[in-house]
């Protein structure tokens, strides 16, 4: 087979030139995507004339599809194309024969209205989202409660796998973060309290804030980023690959096999991780006390014993299962929201992490107020 429009032509640079005069012009050279603008500019005024006019394209060595489209446009404006080479004819016929309706223009709205529309959309989405979260929390609580009431139906192997995946492997990072946080609080405490001669109270500050708030909060945020995202991605990929649909047609409730083990597993893991974080936080405090205050570890233990109450520890740790439930439910909910493509897995994972961390912090604030009112 031959390649009509790729015929050889001598000359260093491919270009297009307009020759001839008045009604009869000729194009020479190469009319392709690179020379198109030049040809268009050269011919723009000539094309607008009323007179009958013709364009000789016999000297064009090569035409590509954009070039052909341009020539077809000229023909539609009443320009007669003459001297068409046989090898260019089929290309021109093909391109001119295409039905090129302009694509329907999308409806444009003014900027200020766009802003209002966007605001409304976001508000509606937030409302639906809130409803979804509440509904899903209810359904997940129901399924989890049912599973706990019927211990025989508890998927123990799945739960233990979840504990191993979400708990053990998170120990190092949670421990390091807890130490770091208590170091940060300790340094600030020493710096702020020293002018008043109260730097010894730094130990109280670190112990109380780690046990009541920081230990569990840092753990929950870490787990929301780590495990919540993993839940969404795991379930999301299963959704995208129709595995969840396969479960449904086999008469298995996705809620029972996908959500319940994760929820129960995380509700066991997160309190343990929070306890570990508390201990590591106190350890970090011991380091600070030694380095900045010259308090020996034995004295430190004694001081901590005086400074904190069991209730401080309980106030912290009691929040952990609640956070765990929330993180697991949000993660699973967004996983089950994945539709179709892999792109949607990424989107839902982001949303899940953001929402989980947001809700954990909001809930923690509510807990603070609540325990304050109770006087704990």
């Amino acid at each position: 087979m031959s390649t009509p429009q790729h015929s050889t032509q001598a000359g260093p640079s491919p270009g297009v030139a307009v020759t001839g005069e008045d009604e009869q012009l000729a194009l020479e050279g190469v009319l392709d995507i690179r020379t198109l603008v030049a040809a268009q500019t050269a011919l723009s005024r000539w094309v607008r004339q009323r007179k009958s006019r013709s364009l000789d394209i016999g000297k064009l060595s090569e035409i590509d599809t954009p070039g052909a489209l341009f020539l077809c446009g000229l023909r539609d404006k009443g320009v007669e194309l003459t001297g068409v080479r046989t090898e260019h004819k089929s290309l021109l016929d093909l391109i001119c024969g295409l039905d090129l309706k302009p694509p329907p223009k999308p409806v444009t709205v003014p900027r200020w209205r766009h802003l209002v529309i966007q605001l409304g959309k976001v508000a509606e989405e937030a409302w639906h989202d809130a409803l979804d979260v509440v509904t899903f929390i209810g359904r997940a609580a129901n399924a989890t409660g049912y599973a706990l009431m019927h211990p025989r139906s508890l998927p123990l192997p799945a739960i233990s796998r979840q504990i191993a995946e979400t708990g053990l492997s998170a120990l190092p990072i949670v421990g390091v973060m807890a130490i770091m946080i208590s170091v940060v609080i300790g340094y600030q405490g020493v710096a702020q309290l020293r002018p008043y001669g109260g730097e010894d109270f730094t130990i109280n500050l670190v112990a109380v804030s780690v046990l009541r708030e920081m230990g569990v909060l840092i753990t929950a945020i870490m787990v929301a980023g780590r495990t919540g995202a993993a839940f969404t991605a795991e379930i999301g990929v299963m959704m995208a690959r129709e595995e969840v649909d396969a479960l449904k047609v086999m008469g298995v409730e996705p809620m029972a096999v996908l959500v319940v083990p994760r929820v129960i597993g995380l509700m066991i893991t997160l309190p343990l991780l929070a306890f570990f974080a508390d201990m590591m936080g106190l350890l970090g405090g011991a380091g600070i006390a030694q380095a900045q205050l010259g308090v020996s570890p034995v004295q430190y233990v004694d001081r901590v014993h005086q400074a904190v109450d069991v209730s401080d520890f309980l106030v912290g740790i009691v929040k952990a299962p609640v956070f765990a439930f929330l993180i697991a439910v949000i993660g699973c909910m967004h996983g089950l929201r994945v539709r179709g493509s892999a792109e949607s897995v990424g989107k839902e994972t982001t949303r899940s992490v953001v929402k989980a961390i947001f809700l954990v912090i909001v809930l923690d604030a509510l807990f603070s107020v609540f325990f304050e009112k109770l006087g704990w």
Partner: protein
């Protein structure tokens, strides 16, 4: 000729010499050579795992072979500059590989935006033309890849591959996953593009109907080696796999389609 140094010679436009590809201990291609002539439609066939897609990736320079070299238009494939590469080859990937964040028209305009300085209106017009050329209705341009059916994804991918009027078109399984009507639509489109635009086409496919209706010559990958010949000659091959491939129960219908498409050719 559209740029300096792109003179068209009558010889092979793609030429692979002594290609060896292996993954770990597993050798996929053992010193295979292949020439694609300018203006022809060449099929590449073979069983699952015979390395069809790897060969295609090697030809377009996405995969560096363990040994051997590939010349595109006389130049080693890894030395061709980006802009030249873009106007030399177009590739339709198996899943279309359309950018999911861009609309179909933007997908087609993307290479133009990168490699030409056409004004946006002009790009839009050309994109609409390419979509029409690929047989898509005008309103498809505004849609996003996720909204398209399988056949439309392939057509949109083809429109994007054609964006810069490449001289060689590589198609990876252009008809897989399509219903028979859509598949024969693609077959016709390939033939038409080759005829009217003079594009050289390399089709990787195990769809016998596609191979029989669009290809003059077919390269069959068997046992790490390659056999290239016209279909008529391959029909008489004694090689067991090739014989089974071309004479199996599915081959008969494909042969009829070939007769239908080519008349008495």
């Amino acid at each position: 000729m559209r740029a300096p140094g792109r003179q068209h010679n009558a010889g092979p436009i793609v030429s692979a010499r002594g290609i060896v590809n292996q993954f770990g201990a597993q050798v996929v291609h053992d010193k295979i050579s292949l020439d694609v002539m300018a203006g022809e439609i060449l099929g590449i066939a073979g069983g699952s795992g015979s390395g069809k897609s790897v060969l295609l990736k090697t030809l377009v320079g996405l995969h560096r072979p363990n040994a051997g070299k590939v010349l595109l238009n006389g130049e080693p494939v890894d030395e061709v500059e980006n802009a030249e590469m873009a106007s030399l080859i177009g590739v339709l990937f198996q899943q279309g590989a359309l950018f999911s964040s861009l609309s179909v028209a933007q997908n087609v305009m993307f290479p133009m935006r990168q490699h030409t300085d056409l004004p946006p209106e002009q790009q839009e017009r050309i994109a609409a033309m390419k979509l029409a050329l690929a047989g898509l209705p005008a309103d498809t341009g505004a849609k996003f890849p996720a909204e398209l059916s399988g056949g439309m994804v392939k057509r949109a991918g083809l429109a994007r591959a054609l964006a810069l009027d490449p001289r060689i078109l590589f198609l990876d399984e252009p008809t897989s996953g399509l219903d028979p009507t859509a598949a024969s639509g693609i077959d016709e489109l390939i033939l038409q593009l080759n005829k009217s635009l003079g594009i050289t086409v390399v089709v990787v496919s195990h769809d016998l109907t596609t191979l029989f209706t669009v290809c003059r010559r077919v390269a069959i990958l068997v046992d790490k080696k390659i056999t290239v010949d016209t279909i008529d000659k391959l029909m008489h091959s004694q090689q067991p796999w090739i014989h089974d491939f071309l004479h199996g129960p599915r081959a008969q219908g494909a042969m009829n389609a070939r007769k239908h498409a080519h008349g008495n050719r």
